[in-house]
Symmetry: C6
Subunit: 217 residues, 6 copies
């Protein structure tokens, strides 16, 4: 049912969290690969900030393609369509950043996303995860939707004191500071970077201490 | 006569349902294939939400082309023109989603659409059918127009209690939750997915339990 | 003289009928073929609805090119320029649809349009002719301009009771429901569809009972 | 001196006539051929109507290229720049149409324009010359600027009764109804249509009775 | 120091003169050649009139490339970037025309511009120099900035009576009527038109009597 | 932590300084290389002035590529994405110019930027550094963020008298007048211009006396 967590792990689909004046809500992120030339198309009444956020997420993925195990050829002949359902509802803000990044990586690697994980956090072009607003409302929405694990920015750890105990007991809340951690926690399989001999754009994930992260699943 | 159901099954033409302040109305959806490069052109005073809805429907069709039995080559040399007649009347909202998808699939497979079927429902990039508004007005309009079967979102099943008995008796109302069901019910022939050996983008339709659906025709 | 019916049958030129707050008026439609790649250019202060109407008319023509006897190659290396003279006067609405279609078909087949015929009617992407407004004012304008025959939508037949007798006596008024009838009546020679062996996009004209239509000329 | 008639016949430059609230004025039209692909660029604070007017003039010229003696190859590798000096002064309206057409034909044939001729008239895509406003003010401006001959629309002949005698004595005023007459009168040499064997787009000029027109020069 | 005349002759850089409500000011014009396809990019908060002015200047240069000694091939693989520093300050108007033209010619011929020369004047597509406003304020600004020579439109010669004597004594003021004179006076070396055999677009500079112009340097 | 100086020298990342009504702030500049054709994409709610500033910085880098040791081929197959984190916060003004230039040069040369250096200054297309506003607030923000060295425009040296002593003691403040100095001071390694035989666009850095500049590191 729409507005609830998916029942199965899916490719290219992520559960984000939105925050409106009337409370928090599930924000489903869908992606699809269509014939094209490496462009990204965005639909679902996204505001400018969210569109720019998705563009930055897409560039992060392209710039780190070999590290993420994405075949560069895939995007030479395809475009990506990014859609946020409930197309009449305006959506904006940068906090879907890590969700958008995860959806793109899942789509391009064909590794499913854990259906019981939701996430919120701005992402920078370097993959850093920045603070977001409305943490309490978002966590409540996640709980209502049947989510078990929520990834939040490390910079929002300070806000956890204001979260009701039942929410904190009902959810595994994982603060993250880099999108590598997000991918490690949300994808159902580890990424498979290109073999030695291929160019690695940045330091391997292991060197940043994220390889050992895992959630009960 | 315009505003009434067609008398014959047609290719690329679907009867949608619109909802305005003065009641429900038939929304005819027309499509045509013209020389081009895989773009979609939209005319008939569509608002931004409806345009995005059509773009998402088109991407759904392209991403599932082989499953739907659509030759990828067809769109390499053609554009699609989507037109909503009564060009001076503004149209908007996401509820034409499943109608737009059905029109595109019919056009690209050359399988006619049943002329006595109307439909309303937002569609997501994954093919999920989401709740719409104005169900009562739309059903009344369908009845007036000579429609016999209306496809509605499963999420709107709850609203059927408010529908007058004569409407429910005059129409076969079929709740659907995925666009596969819509296509199975609205097209006059089953889809013919690409043969084994070709890549199937998603789980075969049968595995989702939609293959056995059929309407008296 | 501008504002009056032409004295000769011309290629690519049609007399439409406009309706303004101060009465009806002749709306001259001009077209020309220029080097290009199959695009359509529109000038003469057209509003958005009229521009979309022309785009739909153009797609109708392209989608039915072989049925209409138009060489597909012609549009691979040409653009069409559509101009509505009196460039400072704003023009809008969908009612020029059949006139625009006729001008395009005449230009692309090089079959002249009867100079004593005027027309008004929205056209859909399937070639259906829809109801328009201002019938009385438009017929009066046609009469003043020296037109002898006016094609109107079948859906407007009901409005003929309000038309003064002298107008109905001075004009041959022909209700039409499909653009095939319009072309059959307005062009000076029958269309020459591609020979058997070529793909016919739709049912042959004869099958729809329009082949026998003709006007005294 | 700017604002006065040129002292020499020039290629691609025409003296138009503008009409503002404070009177008539010379409107210099300049053109240049630059490397490109057959596009037209317009600068000098032109309003939308004037821009569309120039686009229609350009299409007229392209559609009649061989009749006008213009090598089609010329525009395959060049763009045209159209500039109206006094770049800070807004300019609009369709009445520069015949001037724009003449400037384009002169540029593309390299036949100079008579420096003592000014002109005003809307042009249609068929080359018809339509009525303009402000005739009196424009003729006064032409006289002040040292112009000896002014081409005006035949439809404005009726306004000549209101023109002061000294203006009518000081100027040769020539009413025209087709742009062929304009070109015949304003260019310093006759056009040289492509040789027999080449396709003539329309009836030869002679057949329309314009070949014998000439001015004292 | 910015706002003062440069200390050295530079390539592609010209000192223009701006006129605002609070007085005159130096307007530095910078250009650079970057990989591209013959386009021009403009930055520095230019208004529409100034952007069109630069576009016309660029077309003048392209249309007269061989006369100016510019290799056509240079622009086939490069774009030009035009920047006006103090990027937060809005700039508009046509009076930078001759400065923009000079900067472009200097950049494309690699002939430096005299650092002690400033200039103001609208330029037309034929290279004519038209009248500008704010002459007094501009001359005062030139003097303050350490400029020794200012090129002004011949049409502004009439305004020199209102200029204070000390300004006229401190500056060499040169009225010009064609951009050829501007280039002859402002560039540190004569232009080298393409050799005989190459096509000269217009009359050679000498024939217009500008070859002998020179300034003490 | 975002809002604080980075702990490591990074490639393509620069610490700029912003000035708002409520004080100064760190402005992180991130860049990434993605597949493309030499375009620049900008996200993070940049205003028009800042976007033009980045475009000018990019052109400076392209025009001086060989002098800066950047392989021209790199940009033939890549685009640059420029992102300013905190995507919901509007950013504008030209003062990020030298920071943007430095980030681009670092990205394209793969030479890291010193993590303890921040900078503010408009840059022109010639690389000149122009005056900025809000110096005091920016220096305070740099100090708070853990920065040790701040590069400021030479034209702002006059404002240093108003800066509190503790700020001047806590920071090494270096006035600069050309972006060459900025690169020399902010990059962790000297640039390696293309070898002799390759074309140097401008005077070598040494000739301008910047080669010997260095900071304690
Ligand atoms: Ca909702
Ligand atoms: Ca948000
Ligand atoms: Ca209706
Ligand atoms: Ca709707
Ligand atoms: Ca009229
Ligand atoms: Ca109309
Ligand atoms: Ca004037
Ligand atoms: Ca006018
Ligand atoms: Ca200033
Ligand atoms: Ca100015
Ligand atoms: Ca902040
Ligand atoms: Ca700033």
């Amino acid at each position: 049912k729409h507005g609830m967590a998916d029942q199965e792990d899916q490719i290219g689909t992520v559960t984000g969290l939105a925050w409106t004046q009337v409370g928090g809500e599930i924000l489903t992120i869908e992606t699809a690969l269509v014939p094209g030339k490496g462009q990204i198309h965005q639909t679902g009444k996204l505001g400018e900030v969210m569109k720019e956020s998705a563009a930055a997420a897409f560039s992060y993925v392209r710039a780190h393609a070999s590290q993420l195990g994405i075949a560069a050829e895939l995007l030479e002949k395809h475009d990506i369509h990014l859609h946020l359902p409930e197309g009449a509802v305006p959506k904006d803000g940068p906090s879907a950043g890590i969700g958008l990044t995860t959806a793109l990586v899942s789509l391009l690697t064909q590794i499913p996303v854990r259906h019981d994980v939701a996430m919120t956090g701005e992402v920078t072009l370097r993959g850093r995860v920045l603070e977001i607003g409305g943490l309490k409302e978002k966590l409540l929405a996640a709980l209502r939707a049947g989510i078990t694990t929520v990834l939040i920015p490390k910079a929002n750890e300070k806000d956890l004191v204001e979260i009701p105990d039942n929410v904190k007991q009902g959810l595994t809340i994982v603060p993250v500071s880099h999108v590598d951690e997000v991918l490690s926690l949300a994808l159902t399989r580890p990424l498979e970077p290109a073999l030695p001999g291929a160019l690695l754009e940045t330091t391997p994930a292991k060197a940043r201490g994220v390889a050992s992260q895992s959630l009960p699943h």
